[in-house]
Amino acid sequence: MALLEVSKLRMQFGGLLALDDVDLTIDERQIKGLIGPNGAGKTTFFNCVTGVYQPTSGSVTLDGKSLLRRKPHQVTKLGIARTFQNIRLFANMTALENVMVGLDARNRTSVPGAIARPPRARREEREAVVNGHDLLKRVGIGHLADNVSKNLSYGDQRRVEIARALGTRPKLLLLDEPAAGMNPSEKASLMVLIRSIREEGITILLIEHDMKVVMGICEDVVVLDFGRRIAGGPPEVVQRDPQVIEAYLGAGAAGTADAAGA
């Protein structure tokens, strides 16, 4: 059954058509890849789905509920979490505090509760600490919980970001170039992590440039170029699609090159 259904999504910024009637559906527990050359509209697509931009036209539904005209924090509560292309942790907060902000998306204590501290508020706070530690262990950095996040290594920051996103208890996780800047062994363990997140029942949509990662974990791939969907299907098939090769390597390369090399 389709979890996320996007149809005819169009995003126009003045004279620039960033997304041109893009269709995309993701089934529950699928790992789907969104690829395309730089400037193809991948991150814009994420921003339209998560409420950062209001699309010009089209529809976006999660579990049958429309996501249009909702603010990002409301979309998060409906069950979509994301990470960012350039890591956007709360740099001066510890890893644990970062994850607790994510967990707070499901908490209800507000200002009166924080002052009066009824039992529910205390319980939420205790659980946030415990669950925060659990999530950090889950992504393999339990021992770094009390480190200020800007002092963590690049790969660990990525992990904190994923843990923070998981803290919001998403149905769908959007990962924006999670492997960027990682070395091969970090990439390998990231792939293991992403697969294990799916095993828990979370659906994943991932933007990635690294073809090894895409081919390694995605069951299905959608290719964007200049805001248009130019191909879609299993990675092995998409990889050989002449249009995709052309988008990555330019016209004329289709006969000789392999998109995986891009």
């Binding site: 924090h73 709360f90 499901r106 507000s110 200002v111 924080a114 919980a145 290594s153 062994s185």
Partner: protein, 422 residues
Amino acid sequence: MKIVSAIVVLIAAGLLMLAQRRWGERVTASFDRQRRWAFPVSFTAFFLAAALLPVWLNVAQEELAVSVGVFALLSLGLNVVVGYAGLLDLGYVAFWAIGAYTMAILGGTGPLHFAHLSMWEIMPIALVVALLAGVLLGGPTLRLRGDYLAIVTLGFGEIIRILAENLESVTRGAKGITNIPSGELPNSNPVMRAVIHAGIHIENFWIRVYNWFAPGPDHPTRTASRAKSIVFGVNPIPYYLLLLAVIVIMSLVIRRLNDSRVGRAWAAIREDEFAAEAMGVPTLKYKLWAFAIGASTSGFSGVIYASRVRFVDPESFVFIISITILAAVVLGGAGSIAGALAGGAAVTLIPEVLRSLPQRFQDARYGIFGATLILMVIFRPQGLIPSRRRAAELKGGAEETKGPIGAGLPAEVTTGGADGAA
């Protein structure tokens, strides 16, 4: 000599607070477990010392202590807006003015005579009025970021002052409102009468405490122990103690807020608003809360100020006051409760201390004050009593905040190489 001893007491108290440095700073419950006693001990010690302070002061110094209290409370409130939520508010004086004018108008001495309430009845009303003003200003403007918010709040501060100047039928314009009721308890209803009755016992207890601490019998203030009365009227001490009580309550409230989901949300907004929103933080709601809490604290301070000074006019609420309070927050250490209080005290006391300079330096008094602030910002940008987090933010501001690429080189790479060699 007395001013010296008062300053010594304040410095000692400040050191006490400095010793544990963590007021209103814990963001997670897991932080700081081993030092749970430190906060209650230093907090109680400081406020007990502050409550006894009038014993050693003369009337002029007591007046000064009230000003310190007024500014400390203002700075405590602005600290929530600037220090926690990271919103630059340049019109904070507006809420102080709203509190003060609410007191003046509802106290029944302005041109409008529809109510003759006492300070105690006006306090909750002013709290709500200032809070509403905060929400009304914040609702549309908190969608703006950074510099734009600063400009809009600056305008708001001026609008309120100009309104006070021109709405003559309500505020008597530039002439100001005089004869504002002092903080006497109204004996209009049985509850208040009971309070007054209890107050007599508290008063007697206070006088006994005072006599116990007061200097020897030959000391001039000794015979005038009635002058240390805590009955609201001409005497400044009750206002000082009331301000102190409000500061204690607000400090605890703000500390609890900071040490909860709300504080985490504020920190997240300050660090990266876009990411905070994406992680499910309703950013507008929490910014509004910060604004409303700051505004109502300021309104409260305004009520007590108006009732103490018994006179308000638009000139009391000029732009420079907003800047002074902001300076207090920055000087004290943004994001730290102890820092806000110390900063509020500093901006009130430094110009007064400079009065003791020789006559020929008197004209340069505010120049020296300004220079002190500049030196402070250059050599100790994190403030007198900084919050650890804010200190880290300032330090990291110039650097790249991301971990260096490659620093995360996993152990396998190096050990793998070693294995290969073996």
